[in-house]
Amino acid sequence: MLGNLKGLLVTLSTMLRKPVTYQYPKEHKPIESRYMGFPVLMWDSQISEPYCTGCMVCVRYCPTQCMTAVMKDNPLHAEGVSKRRKIVDSFEINFGRCIVCGICVDVCNFDAIEMSHEHELSKYARNDNRSDLTRLLEMGRNYQEETGWEPKTNAKESEGEASS
């Protein structure tokens, strides 16, 4: 019977401790700095264009094939402002399919895509959770301001295609 009584004492002691609940959605549990949320595109504010050149390496190596991209000739390169010959024309990520694995970030040669801290992106219909280029760049700008993001490598002066 002693075991029974010890159990009662344990619950008595936890009764008197502070509860560990975060009352969502009023309070949020703090996110770690390395948290991998959904991938977003980065914006180069010095030249006012996205880092992404539309090379489609991330599209190729995504395990769930959740992204599509189209590339175009960069008008700013013709003017001599930017070093990127090609730039992304349209980019779509289906967040419903994304498994947040981070492989797209690992393979990107231009530091153009990063895992943001976004995780509250639920929608009501199955294929509604898709983001186009404008939305991705906007979320990327939020992420850059929030964390003070700097590119890991200097912007590579490479041709439009990346070699794997």
Partner: protein, 374 residues
């Protein structure tokens, strides 16, 4: 004319009792969820109303608004009657339970007998619910419920009988009035424990909640009931809980009496004292629910028949000897406590002998050399 007034007064009393009981049940639902939450280191309901106080109201609205699913092959009449057969006896008990010295709907001279007789009737309702649902899980749950409830009636009745012998009356108000010098819990701790455990088994609470066992036969006899039908079962369960707690307080813990309280104040302050004591007992019931796993049906039955029934008979024999030979009260309590302690010790020893406890040992293979990092 006077007949109409008489009938009108009785009907209003009954309606008042129903309302009062419903309010009590709502408060019990809130207290249970908050208390269990605190035991589990989380907050209970916090969103509906300040600190979740309106949560039971939201629950009630949800239950009433739910769709009433009925399979085509249930036995309709029995299906409809079963919740009533469970609810009405638990409600009828409250007609004679006094809340304070003179506040009772109808004080009966054989009040205790009436209460015991009516509480047995709800077993029929449970079996009927299980049978009518024509679902194998429900049938299993219903049979388990019947077996459990019938076998734990005997220790309950014997424990109550012990108190009745001490007080020489079956009238609940008399019993409480007799406890003004010392409460019966001090004289009969064995009786209190037996009554409490048998009461827990009667209302179907952990560790004896095998029949609604939520992780096996999900819901037991209530598995096919939804919405308003189920809310009647729910109501009956909480009214029963409150009734067992109230009976514990009245029979063993002195009811509405407090040392130092006398005169006319007993009637008014007594209400608060009664409710405070009852809620304390209810908190202990919830505390048990948060701590213990549940017993299996055959272990439950063997515990009831092999342990509680002989103990309750010993309790009665002791009380009889005490009354016949005129022993002083402290001798009774000492003998009771001795019996309790020796039973615990015997049971633990027997369990330690037949089931060795530490059967897991750490094994370090001798051939493993601990190589240091290079």
């Amino acid at each position: 004319m006077s007949l109409i007034i008489d009938v009108g007064m009785r009907i209003s009393l009954i309606l008042g009792l129903l309302t009062g009981l419903s309010v009590v049940v709502l408060s019990l639902v809130w207290v249970e969820r908050k208390f269990l939450g605190r035991i589990q280191m989380r907050m209970g309901p916090m969103v509906v109303g300040p600190y979740g106080l309106l949560q039971p109201v939201a629950d009630a609205i949800k239950l009433v608004a739910k769709e009433d699913l009925l399979s085509p092959w249930v036995d309709r009449i029995v299906y409809w009657v079963a919740p009533l057969a469970v609810f009405i006896p638990s409600f009828m008990i409250w007609v004679t339970i006094p809340i304070s010295r003179d506040i009772v709907i109808r004080n009966m001279d054989m009040g205790l007998f009436y209460i015991i007789a009516f509480s047995v009737l709800s077993i029929v309702g449970l079996v009927a619910a299980g049978w009518a649902s024509s679902n194998k899980y429900a049938v299993l749950g219903g049979f388990r419920a019947a077996a459990q409830l019938i076998s734990y009636e005997i220790p309950l009745i014997m424990a109550v009988l012990g108190v009745a012998m001490l007080a020489q009356s079956l009238n609940l108000q008399e019993i409480v009035n007799q406890q003004d010098t010392y409460v019966y819990a001090l004289v009969q701790p064995l009786g209190l424990l037996i009554f409490f455990i048998a009461g827990l088994a009667e209302i179907g609470r952990t560790p004896f909640d095998i029949h609604p066992a939520e992780s096996e036969v999900v819901g037991g006899p209530f598995v096919e009931y939804s919405g308003a039908h189920w809310s009647i079962f729910f109501l009956a369960e909480y009214i029963n809980t409150f009734a067992i707690a109230a009976l514990t307080v009245l029979l063993f813990l002195g009811g509405w009496l407090l040392p130092g309280l006398s005169g006319g104040a007993i009637t008014t302050v007594g209400i608060f004292v009664f409710f405070a004591k009852t809620y304390l007992v209810i908190l202990v019931i919830f505390w048990f629910r948060g701590t213990y796993p549940r017993l299996r049906i055959d272990q439950l039955m063997s515990f009831g028949w092999k342990m509680l029934v002989p103990l309750s008979f010993i309790n009665i024999i002791l009380t009889g000897c005490y009354m016949f030979y005129g022993w002083p009260a402290w001798l009774m309590s000492i003998i009771s406590v001795t019996i309790l302690v020796s039973v615990f010790w015997l049971v633990s020893k027997r369990m330690n002998n037949t089931k060795k406890e530490y059967t897991v040992h750490i094994y370090k293979p001798e051939s493993s050399e601990v190589k240091n990092a290079g």
